[in-house]
Amino acid sequence: MIIVDIEKKLKTYTGLQVLRIKKEFTQGSITRVTGPSGAGKTTFIKMIAGLITPDKGSIITNETWFDSSRSINLTPQQRRTGFVFQDYALFPNMTVKQHLEYATNDMQWIDRLLKIGRLDTFTNHKPGHLSGGQQQRLAILRALAIKPKLLLMDEPFSALDIKTKAALITDLQKLFKELNATIIIVSHNPQELDGISNDEIDLQ
């Protein structure tokens, strides 16, 4: 269970806007975060990961990650959430395999992830030599490599074709269940996660 009750002032084109989110995420749930551009979807999941600090409120899992009233703010390293960045944030100097080895020493897990992501024949390729879809899959695999209990994904399927997306999602769902991970997915496409997500937040 993750209990989020946070507030953050956002600068927008129309001036300051306050992002307020109060939500409980049950363990193993898959939640879709929707909303128009600039609504604060990315900011929201970055606050959970500890990459952006909320102005006030609290984030509580089995321990307190953030509590403004008690000046508690765990670092991203301490929270260890899996995070898939919208721009993938792949390391240009590392090959596909090195990305996963940077995250974990579990070679069996790495081999399994590579198969699921259909990147097992591209292990020595650097991101610059991968297609957009392959890069996106690598970003997802890297986030999963640490076996996170909470996985935050920012538009994770936007560069995938329908067939690849369907196959990947089927495999990922099995993994999510196995890890008993809570998943929060930012998506601008409301239909994209139909039948996958079982909860939703709409940031307006």
Partner: protein
């Protein structure tokens, strides 16, 4: 021809570049992060040698490290270290004088890396140091190479600062640029020409090599 000024110059440039590499990398990284007034002031001070006449810098270093007064006297009495008219003085002056050539391109390179690279590394549980070493540093290699070569080449060409703090002691502080000046003073144009040609050749080869390596995308030290 006496080649000792050339060897001394190369030794000075190598030591200066090594020291600046060790100092410059963490400083450039620190400067590349969130801006503050304090950082702007520090960056301005680091950049000053680019615009300040070298003789001015040399003059102040001469005053600061003079064994007759203040800090220089204290260094001399307590640690038996003398920076004026010594090789270590040349190293100190060169480190200060060439600092912007190391720090500016490296800082600029760090700033151009997407913030999400560090953030991705942090979410994988990696420390700032691991992120710096495994993610940031390998991805600024071309700029780092540029900075190293520019620092080395710039140190080869120093004149005003080294003359002020080091003087012209053969084998100790008489670097190639001073040897050129000294030869001209003595109307020995042949030696002056030899030293000049050697300096020209070394710097040209270094700069052209880095341009080729970086495929014409070398950044100005002022960027």
């Amino acid at each position: 021809m006496d080649l000792s000024p050339v060897w001394l110059t190369l030794k000075l440039a190598a030591i200066t570049t090594l020291i600046l590499l060790l100092i410059g990398l963490p400083v450039a990284w620190w400067l590349s992060k969130k801006r503050s007034i304090f950082k702007i002031v520090i960056e301005a001070i680091i950049t000053m040698p680019l615009v300040l006449p070298p003789s001015v810098l040399g003059f102040y270093l001469l005053l600061a490290f003079s064994p007759q007064r203040g800090f220089g006297k204290w260094l001399s009495e307590v640690f038996n270290v003398q920076f004026v008219f010594s090789f270590q003085g040349l190293v100190l002056a060169s480190v200060i004088y060439s600092m912007p050539f190391m720090i500016s391109p490296v800082k600029s390179a760090f700033q151009q890396l997407p913030l999400s690279l560090s953030q991705a590394s942090y979410t994988l549980g990696k420390t700032q140091w691991q992120t710096f070493w495994h993610v940031l540093l390998p991805n600024i290699k071309p700029s780092l190479l540029t900075a190293v070569v520019l620092t080395f080449a710039h140190t080869l060409g120093e004149f005003g600062v080294v003359l002020m703090i080091g003087g012209n002691i053969p084998g100790v502080t008489r670097v190639a640029s001073i040897a050129v000046y000294d030869s001209v003073e003595q109307m020995d144009y042949a030696s002056a020409n030899n030293y000049s040609l050697i300096l020209f050749a070394i710097t040209f080869v270094m700069v052209i090599s880095v341009f080729i390596y970086n495929k014409y995308q070398v950044k100005s030290p002022l960027e």
